[in-house]
Subunit: 384 residues, 2 copies
């Protein structure tokens, strides 16, 4: 498709370029970080190391969408006989990779704060930032006679502060994109709305677990979609449209469709956490049950006669594996697993409908439709 | 001084305009916040209410410095016969008030996270955001039978997330200033360096208290300066210079002088927390002693023969008032209070020297010198 269009002469940022941008962010401030004390230097190096461990799903989605749209624009110019040159709003290539890096930095900022809030010390089967900080300082603590709780507090503070630094870094990158003011403001709006909505989702999640917010299905489902799906799907797609100079209507069409994809993704995540294979998903098994996380699974179970069997131990921080396995089996027997699987199916169908028939909205270009269909297919078979 | 220069025709943003800008920030997103659930709406309203409770010292310093520099530039133009019109880099008036609001938002973001990290529920003699969230939900928790620890966790999560929203808001404001790219980037650099250095200070503070970082006087003093003084003095002054189109050398001269002012301010803050009148400073009395905060006071005491009397209870979270009063008296007797007072004096002298004799750097304009001298005089007599 690209042959003969001249398009192949434009260097396309790949995930390797995103990794390079992330390295640059950390390298640029490394000397300064080290000068603020070796513990802060250690924290900075640790964040730099850990951010490389991700699958970079969001930067990938952003880059693929951006280039599908950019290619479309290029072909359009060719067909219309216009010269295939940069339009005034076309970003420089390094800015494309940089925005992708900012999207990953924002994701990691949310993960870090989520781990602090959930008091988790593991992620993807390995110690997370908090876990590594605790390991690094266990000896120091023992030598000084400081109790472990102080080291845990130190590590969790590291999680909060590292999250802040990445949140700030994402904003700094969006703020410095070399585009005309209007396009830059549009990108900043996308970031602003993403941060606001994700934060609301996180707060509602904790409110539900704390019993401060009453648990009903629409609330649980709304919370799930806001907490993860917005920054996982809407942010990369909207940023790609904004950066490529696409219409606000196209942004809206993509949001309409991927809201359902995002919800399916989050519901599936809940299923994996509770019923999946921990050796595949790498999370602390049964942590959702131990934390008393209010998911659609739990909401369904609560309406059944089997709920008392679950309620007794649900949210017990000391839940042992045997009781957790029993609880998981009860959740299957009462029909909660099947119910949530049917919700995933329903959301996937809605996604495909919206993808192909944008009600009175902009038509999603074929390349982007194909890309998102592939994403949906991959999601359905995922184990992690 | 302003009479006859035509300067008085330019509307000057005042603190009332800053308060208005802050109100606008919250009003603009209020409907959206409420739509994300009434608990998130409550959080948003609570932050809006609490941010109004501050003394707005930093926005005041920024505005006064900005107008002193802007006035100077105006007079210079008049003397040189140039027309007193906007230079191309001059910001719009609303942006000046908006940057002042962003400086206050950033300050409040740091306070919120500091309160989470220190597990404080009071600030300025009143419940802080965490304290108010706990009060609001005590009944809900009791009705649902949820233990208080869940409500505390919910409230602390509110503190983390509200801090994130304000950190993001400060970046969004800096990013949207209507100035040529070069000036905008310069402002973004100031913000970036401020966030990075303040974060390092906060991390080192917790590292010192946790016993992870070895406690010596230069480390304690460095940490103190970074944690609060940078965003209290350097940020407002540097932002004022950058926004008024002043030189980088002038920024540097102001930083050289106010580093000492900031350090004096922070050391004085430590003195007030331990030896001041709680009814005047409004903080939880003796919380520094209860938290085991490593200050210059404690560092001095540690070198004296009276340290064992202090060490026994220092950092005890259940320290009662009687023991705290005794500890405070011992800190006076061992000479720690007098030592830190002498450090404050020394830093104040260094500040005045640097203010009047910028070593090979830009001369600080007389109006700004007078302003900063007044700030220093007011600091010396402060009770809160």
């Amino acid at each position: 498709m690209r042959t003969g269009t001249g398009y192949e002469h434009t260097p396309v940022p790949l995930l390797a370029d995103v990794a390079h941008e992330l390295e640059q962010i950390f390298a640029a401030k490394n000397a300064q970080a080290q000068s603020y004390g070796n513990k802060f230097g250690q924290l900075w190096s640790l964040v730099a190391k850990q951010i490389r461990g991700g699958k970079a799903v969001r930067p990938w989605l952003f880059l693929e969408t951006y280039y599908a749209l950019d290619r479309g624009r290029h072909l359009e110019n060719e067909t219309s006989g216009l010269p295939a040159q940069r339009t005034p709003t076309r970003p420089v290539q390094s800015d494309v990779a940089r925005i992708a890096a900012a999207i990953e930095a924002l994701h990691f900022a949310f993960l870090l704060h989520d781990d602090v809030i959930d008091a988790d010390t593991m992620r993807r089967g390995k110690p997370n930032l908090i876990g590594e900080l605790i390991q690094q300082h266990q000896d120091v603590a023992n030598n000084n006679g400081a109790p472990n709780s102080l080291v845990t507090h130190y590590a969790q503070t590291g999680g909060i502060l590292a999250g802040n630094l990445l949140l700030a870094a994402a904003h700094q990158i969006f703020a410095r994109v070399q585009l005309p003011e209007q396009s830059r403001i549009r990108l900043l709006d996308v970031l602003d709305e993403t941060v606001f909505e994700t934060t609301a989702g996180e707060f509602n999640d904790v409110g539900l677990s704390a019993g401060v917010i009453a648990c009903d299905l629409p609330t649980v489902v709304d919370m799930s979609a806001r907490k993860t799906a917005v920054y996982t799907f809407e942010l990369p797609l909207r940023a790609a449209v904004a950066l490529s100079g696409g219409s606000l209507k196209l942004e809206q069409s993509l949001v309409s469709a991927t809201t359902h994809l995002g919800l399916a993704y989050q519901l599936q995540d809940d299923l994996l956490s509770t019923f999946g294979d921990p050796t595949a998903h790498g999370k602390d098994p049964y942590s959702d049950l131990r934390e008393g996380k209010q998911t659609a699974i739990i909401h369904f179970a609560r309406q059944t006669t089997m709920w008392p069997q679950i309620a007794a131990n649900f949210g017990n921080p000391d839940l042992d594996t045997e009781s957790a396995v029993k609880m998981r089996d009860t959740l299957i027997q009462c029909g909660a697993e099947a119910f949530v699987r049917s919700l995933v199916e329903e959301q996937m169908q809605l996604f495909h409908q919206k993808l192909h028939r944008a009600d009175g909205e902009a038509t999603i270009p074929a390349d982007v439709r194909d890309l998102l269909s592939n994403v949906a297919t991959n999601l359905q078979g995922r184990q992690s």
